[in-house]
């Protein structure tokens, strides 16, 4: 690992250290109780009947045979759900799109709109009986015409997925005079790119256990990124919000797939109905079949530049596939729209973005959330530009990179350092000397891709997080924060911050997370926001607490207040005299000085902006660059990534080991996206519902990704940190595409970059591409 540190404003003892996470050992030694590991006495097992058709009317739904099976406790259909709808807020820029479009039907009511849509729920004494009951439900479907491509969905006369029409959301950005700028540009690169639908494919499929507790509160312990879905469960059941509690144990991977509700509502319904604990674990097949996925996009880029490589204009058209239900599509499209021009100055820009309903599996949040799909577009364009003008790939990016104080085409001014140029240089140089091809039919090439990814939620969501920090009478520290830890080290980073401020060892800090009843609410573990948001909340709480404790300690030490420090579990005077924290706490108790504090952090907030007029959309952004070296077999089209250097400015690495983990994991996921993964859907039928057909890379398929951490010290998180959860997934696919052109001279514009696509581009195959390839 390479690390470029800038001097901190204050000397740090714990922040910045690569401390092993407290949860790591438990996980490796199989002590972590994941959602599916939870057992309760008298527990039932839940299962879901899913639609076999992507578009059909339910003519008859008869559960009597299933309900009569011995061991079946409940069979529920739409009729049994008190309020069978979840609403999510869909902002949309044009009046074509109304606000109430994000209706999610929990159990199909008369029609099914995608294959795998939940139709009925079962709870039974064993998983075997539950499965038998699912198979014993009689459903008669009348297949209806469907629409499986977003362009076809928007054509006149297309079958309507929902009554209101198939256009789900639309955003646009306009700045400058694109028409004129493109006319005057020395070069214009006009290319259409396509990226595919992919799955989160986390190790831990969706799972949970729910029970009605002794106090009558419905308690749901589930694998989720969002404990605040307790409100949605309450709405569905028609009970007050404070009667539902959601607990998130350590999560075995989220990546956005557990941002929307998955099992929680179903568990809630079954436990509420049966008054018994119910466990539900989705199989890998169910998870791959039906849980919301990443949006495929068609991206058309027309990029104009001057002869010296300076960008003069971007005209971009985006079309995304929302699948059958809205989920978070409108927001995903917003991220895409705002970042479509990349980390570059573009004086004249136009982005027209639409997302349409189809009868495909629904799409929603996934690491990178619309912004990552854009990297293929803007970075392929930059590379084509460099090639056309004979410029070095780093140089063309350096000439156009944003700087602090510049405005994005949407009008938002960048308030922090933009380290794109350093990142590009470091990543490119990190590749070292070129390797020689192994055989005469191999070619080796290199590619670069930079990116911009927001961290923190959209400013008009008025995001906030709270966290409680307290010091026990023995001087140990407790943190309470409603933060789901989805494997990124979210909890341990908060311990590290509390430890830093309160001068105790990290092992002296205990943390309680992700219980909507007992931990202060901290918002979602999504949008690269928890370190930023909850980190700031813990920092605020710990600092306030420290100030109070120091005042009491100064009196005990008879030292001037302001000169006493907390370290090694003690308060220390300038002359070295010390008093143990435990003793200070006793004094606090005697004096009635509170020994805990609830910190709240409010992110910069704003009003919804009309993107066409412009304004601030996100709190801030993270920038980075990846460089890869690939080897292409020119007889088969196979691509092997030989080296991968990934560099991001994280502002401040609270825990460099966790940052490296995010960068390496993100790069691996990005390479899987670039080279292997695709949810293949034919006429609405998902053909990739096992890990034998849905190909995620294994350790044998990936190079060692070398992370390079830049620390500009300039971010909006604690100690100047920026978010790093999502950013590293963005650049790999584009970097590989660029490297392939460097190696072979052919440009791949469609993901994943399968050997077959490369072979076709190389002219190795005579027959035309089949329909979907």
């Amino acid at each position: 690992m390479a690390r470029e540190a800038t001097p901190a404003t204050e000397p740090l003892r714990v922040v910045g250290r690569a401390i092993p996470r407290h949860d790591a050992r438990d996980k490796v030694e199989a002590r972590t109780l994941y959602a599916a590991d939870w057992q309760m006495p008298g527990m039932l097992h839940g299962a879901v009947l899913r639609s076999a058709y992507p578009s059909a009317r339910i003519r008859r739904l008869d559960v009597s045979r299933a309900a009569a099976l011995p061991g079946v406790a409940a069979v529920l259909t739409a009729r049994d759900v008190p309020r069978n709808v979840l609403w999510t807020d869909v902002p949309g820029q044009t009046s074509e799109v109304g606000p109430l479009r994000a209706r999610l039907v929990l159990l199909a009511d008369g029609v099914v709109r995608y294959q795998g849509e939940p139709v009925a729920l079962v709870a039974a004494e064993t998983p075997e009986v539950a499965q038998r009951a699912v198979e014993a439900i009689d459903v008669e479907y009348e297949p209806l015409p469907g629409v499986f491509d977003p362009a076809a969905a928007l054509a006149p006369g297309a079958p309507r997925v929902h009554e209101e029409g198939n256009l789900l959301a639309r955003w646009q950005i306009r700045c400058g005079d694109v028409e004129r700028a493109l006319e005057r540009a020395d070069v214009v690169i006009d290319t259409t790119y396509r990226c595919q639908m992919v799955d989160h494919a986390y190790l831990e499929p969706e799972a949970g256990v729910a029970w009605v507790d002794a106090d009558g509160v419905l308690t749901i312990r589930a694998s989720t990124q969002v404990i605040e879905h307790f409100r949605d469960v309450a709405e569905v059941l028609g009970v007050p919000h404070n009667r539902v509690r959601v607990i998130a144990p350590y999560v075995g991977g989220g990546f956005g797939g557990k941002e929307d509700v998955t099992v929680e509502v179903f568990l809630g319904l079954l436990a509420w109905r049966t008054r018994r604990p119910v466990r539900m674990v989705w199989s890998r097949q169910e998870s791959l079949l039906a849980r919301a996925k990443r949006h495929p996009f068609v991206l058309r880029y027309r990029t104009g530049a001057a002869r010296d490589g300076t960008l003069v204009a971007q005209r971009i058209e985006l079309l995304g596939d929302a699948g059958a239900y809205a989920y978070l599509s409108a927001l995903v499209l917003l991220y895409a729209t705002v970042t479509a021009c990349g980390p570059y100055r573009v004086p004249n820009a136009e982005v027209q973005a639409r997302v349409a309903y189809t009868n495909n599996p629904p799409t929603s949040a996934m690491r990178g959330f619309g912004a990552m799909q854009m990297v293929l577009g803007y970075e392929s364009q930059m590379d084509q530009l460099a090639r056309r003008l004979g410029l070095d790939p780093v140089e063309v990016r350096a000439r156009n990179a944003l700087h602090k104080g510049d405005r994005l085409p949407v009008g938002q001014q960048i308030e922090t350092r933009v380290a794109v140029i350093e990142a590009a240089r470091r990543a490119w140089a990190g590749l070292g000397p070129r390797v020689a091809p192994r055989t005469p039919h191999h070619r080796v090439g290199r590619g670069l891709a930079c990116n911009i990814q927001p961290y923190g939620r959209i400013v008009w969501l008025h995001d906030w997080a709270s966290a409680w920090v307290g010091i026990e009478m023995d001087g140990s520290v407790v943190v309470r924060a409603g933060v789901p830890d989805i494997g990124g080290g979210q909890a341990s980073a908060l311990c590290q911050i509390a430890s830093e401020v309160l001068g105790v060892e990290p092992a002296q800090v205990a943390i309680h997370i992700a219980d909507s009843a007992l931990t202060p609410l901290a918002g979602t573990t999504t949008a690269t926001r928890q370190l930023y948001m909850s980190g700031n909340a813990v920092l605020a709480a710990a600092r306030e607490l420290r100030a109070r404790v120091l005042e009491v300690a100064a009196r005990l030490l008879e030292a001037p207040p302001g000169r006493v420090e907390l370290r090694e579990g003690a308060a220390v005077a300038p002359d070295g005299r010390r008093v143990a924290l435990a003793q200070v706490m006793k004094e606090c108790a005697r004096l009635g000085v509170p020994r805990s504090h609830l910190g709240v952090y409010h992110a910069p907030a704003g009003d919804p902006v009309d993107l066409a007029r412009g304004g601030r959309v996100f709190p801030d952004y993270t920038f980075g660059a990846h460089a890869v070296e690939v080897e292409v077999d020119t007889e088969t089209g196979a691509v092997a990534v030989l080296r991968h250097v990934a560099c991001h400015d994280v502002g401040r690495a609270i825990n460099p080991q966790s940052v490296e983990g995010q960068i390496q994991g993100g790069a691996a996921m990005g390479l899987g996206y670039g080279l292997l993964e695709e949810v293949v859907v034919e006429a609405g039928v998902n053909l990739t519902t096992s890990l034998g057909t849905y190909l995620v890379p294994t350790a044998l398929d990936l190079p060692d990704v070398e992370p390079v951490i830049l620390e500009s010290g300039d971010g909006k998180g604690p100690f100047g940190a920026r978010g790093i959860g999502e950013p590293p997934v963005g650049p790999p696919a584009a970097a590989v595409a660029n490297a392939i052109e460097d190696a072979t001279g052919v440009r791949i514009t469609e993901l994943p970059i399968t050997p077959e696509r490369v072979a076709r581009a190389l002219g190795l195959l005579e027959s035309p591409a089949p329909g979907r390839a």
Partner: protein, 292 residues
């Protein structure tokens, strides 16, 4: 997902197993290493009423050399083939083919008999046995049969085995002098089933010309395919890579690949050509290394 419940039998002898299968008929499935059957059970793609576990049948574990042939028992694991344990070392093509199966956990359990009986069109061992001109030995209630590999693989996941028959062993002719072999496989990920794989055996005469050549392909149709026209055309040639390339390019490949989520038929056809050349060239180089 849990499998649909089934009855479980673990007979102690081959005779008992065969008579059990005879009485259970089509509703029973033999279980060997379980590496194909168990996934099919838990995905509920097969729902047998009974499973007949073969693990107690030690007589199916034997490996015997008998003059110029090697007899490999049905329960011999992929891992033993890969490592060339005992007399298996005499059949290096099998060794190279087995090493490409799945991952080490799969190889530690999967068996040659299971792989041949399962007859996956992309599997290594069926095509390897075809390239080796092997014979499949089976035992049923009505007695034993020896079926040439060519007739054994009848169609997609379908063999000449009758429901009451067990595959007991495979008999392979041992390679003669100046014989080289090679496997060239293409898959999307390390350890995956092949998209296409080519299995080649080349025997040279004393003058360094091809005395006999055999090449079989996996992933190019419902059953493993031999390229008869290519094999015949090579005989008598000095097998340089260019010569092999020329021969392969000018013969239509007698294959009928399908399209699926991993590759189109056209791409499989292309790969078949590339891998056939590579496998034959490497096999020929191996044969030359024996010297005259």
């Amino acid at each position: 997902m849990p499998a649909v419940p089934f009855d479980y039998h673990a007979p102690a002898t081959l005779a008992e197993a065969v008579s059990l299968l005879g009485s259970l008929g089509e509703d029973a499935k033999p279980l060997a290493g379980g590496q194909s059957l168990l996934p099919l059970l838990t995905l509920r793609l097969v729902r047998p009423r009974a499973v007949v576990d073969l693990h107690r049948l030690d007589e199916l574990r034997a490996v015997r050399r008998d003059g110029g042939t090697l007899e490999v028992g049905a329960l011999v694991r992929h891992r033993a083939l890969e490592r060339g344990e005992g007399p298996l070392v005499l059949c290096p093509l099998l060794q190279e083919a087995a090493a490409l199966i799945g991952n080490v956990r799969v190889r530690a359990l999967g068996t040659i008999g299971g792989s041949l009986a399962h007859a996956d069109p992309a599997a290594e061992l069926p095509a390897a046995v075809r390239a080796l001109d092997g014979t499949i030995l089976v035992q049923g209630a009505a007695g034993a049969r020896a079926i040439p590999a060519e007739e054994f693989f009848a169609g997609l996941l379908t063999t000449a085995l009758r429901p009451d028959e067990l595959l007991t062993a495979v008999r392979l002719p041992l390679p003669g002098p100046r014989t080289g072999h090679a496997v060239e496989e293409f898959s999307r990920r390390a350890g995956d089933f092949a998209i296409v794989a080519a299995f080649a055996v080349v025997q040279l005469d004393a003058a360094g010309r091809v005395a006999a050549a055999r090449v079989a392909l996996a992933g190019c149709g419902p059953t493993p395919r031999r390229l008869d026209a290519v094999e015949r055309a090579l005989v008598g040639l000095a097998p340089s890579e260019e010569e092999i390339r020329r021969v392969v390019a000018h013969r239509p490949l007698e294959i009928e690949p399908d399209s699926d989520v991993h590759a189109s038929a056209a791409y499989r056809r292309h790969l078949a050509g590339v891998l056939t050349v590579r496998a034959l060239a490497r096999a020929a180089a191996g044969a030359r290394a024996f010297g005259p």
